[in-house]
């Protein structure tokens, strides 16, 4: 069943301060070789939440989106929260997406987390969001929220190939959007990374004729 949805607005929040990779390397006693490899991969800085939780970061991103769009809270039908790191949640049995709904007065919104595709989770969630829109004609507006915080400085390294940064984003998806329409999505998951701190799912083909990803944190995991 085809359905037309699109991303009508997106916002992000990047915590201060911006930290540089060399300072991080000194503090966490990384080898010169690791730093060189990271710099050669284009990693020079990252954002450090320094004590803020994923909840705070996500709330700041939503606040920014609401400020820019004048979004009426009662019109949000869905809130899907995505994250890469297992710890970017509320301590169980609390629910971070529910806390966001309560805080922003998203009265009608159903809320759950979509995760365990690591960095591909925000794209994977789009597949689920598309299915929700296709199957439920009453759903017109969904909020895709992502946040990640890494409290262990030494664990920011992604096998020396990249660095996990802290950040959050909020993406507003609407039915029959006139801009940034979702054309197609395709995924491949090998499962081989399930025991490693590496992306589980590699997105082989994503066609989004939009600048959506440009507004994501550049160092976002």
């Amino acid at each position: 069943m085809s359905v037309s949805i699109g991303i009508v607005h997106s916002a992000y929040y990047l915590p201060e301060p911006v930290d540089d990779v060399r300072g991080w390397g000194r503090r966490t006693k990384q080898s010169a070789e690791t730093i060189k490899r990271l710099e050669e991969a284009g990693v020079c800085s990252f954002y450090d939440a320094r004590g803020q939780t994923a909840l705070s970061l996500a709330a700041n991103a939503i606040k920014s989106l609401i400020h820019a769009t004048q979004l009426a809270p009662g019109t949000v039908d869905f809130l899907v929260y995505v994250h890469t790191l297992q710890g970017s949640v509320a301590p169980p049995p609390l629910s971070l997406p529910r806390l966001l709904c309560e805080h922003f007065n998203f009265e009608q919104a159903e809320a759950f987390s979509f995760a365990q595709q690591h960095c591909a989770s925000s794209l994977g969630a789009l597949r689920i969001i598309r299915a929700i829109f296709a199957a439920r004609p009453s759903v017109n507006r969904a909020l895709l929220v992502g946040a990640d915080v890494m409290p262990l400085a030494s664990d920011r390294s992604i096998a020396g190939a990249g660095l996990l940064s802290d950040g959050a984003c909020a993406v507003l998806v609407e039915r029959d959007a006139s801009v940034n329409r979702l054309v197609s999505l395709a995924f491949h998951a090998s499962g081989e990374g399930s025991k490693l701190q590496l992306p589980l799912a590699q997105v082989h083909q994503v066609r989004l004729p939009l600048s959506q990803m440009a507004s994501y944190p550049r160092s976002y995991p």
Binding site: M1, L85, L94, E102, N105, A109, Q117, G191
Partner: protein
Amino acid sequence: MNTPVITALASYVPRTVTVHRDCGIEPTHGAPIRSGWHAWVASWQVDYAPHPTKKAAAIRSAAVNAAADEFRCVPVERDTDLSGLAAKVAQTICAARPANAAPIDIAMFCHSSLNEHVSTTTAGRLRAVIGTPCFPFSVSQQQGASTFTALQLASDLLIAEPEINTILIVAAEKWCAPFSRWTDQGIVQGDAAGAILVERFGPASWGLMVIDARAGRLHQLATPAPLSSQDIRTDWVPALRSTIDAILLRHKLQPNDVGTVVGARIDPQLDEAICRHLSRRVIELPSRYRVHLGAAEPIVQLADVLESHDRPVCERILTWGVGLGGFVGCALFESHGRPLVYLNPP
């Protein structure tokens, strides 16, 4: 047809052990696992302090202190971790499928407890267990209601993507330090796993047809809650009544049209209230009250009921559950033959 039908279920509940309320979680045998979770627990203090995990180490809140029993018998898994529990039930269902069965297209993992090690992904392990390309992901932070969301998403996916035919929903919970089994409400969280195989309904299909499934949040507070609100309210009854009524109304059914009701068995008063609402006799179920199996609870309960005796054709089964973080869930099934049921696979 787009209607989902449950053709197989598996559940696993480990042996119970006695857990004292003063002890948030049973001690680990052997060397402590260096999981990395302590850093996250410390980081959560900013927004969630005083953190429930920390609180759990001390005497519980007044609700717990008021509890008459000092001990609770809780299913505790000793031999494997969270992903191991999920893999166990998934493997049971996959191994029993015929070699020429349609491949599993989607794998959903429902949970609220967190893996022993922060970097592992159970969804990835499920992909490995399934053995063929699929789309694995987790549905979480709804606790006992996440399985209902997964059923609803399965239904959505079958409607939205005609090429999808088979979906495996796996739910598991395994609590480990530094987390606590005890909630501030005096409920103890046990370990368990369950799996449901959902297939697109066809002429030769048999099993439990999924008529509807819904999960919802508890009613909104009059004023927006503080960002860090830890309040897990217990007003599940109105939310559950409303969710059940909405499903019955949507399908033009009355409570009497439902044959069997499968509840969460988390709290006698809650069970009683829902039984009364559905105009049926309250059945005394003394075991396991105030012990909750989280996301696995609805599947474990449903598998137990299906195993106990065969259901008449077209009998409707209503299953409801709660998420301790403030969620409720409900699903309505119609029996079209007995699905395969596997209880406590080795």
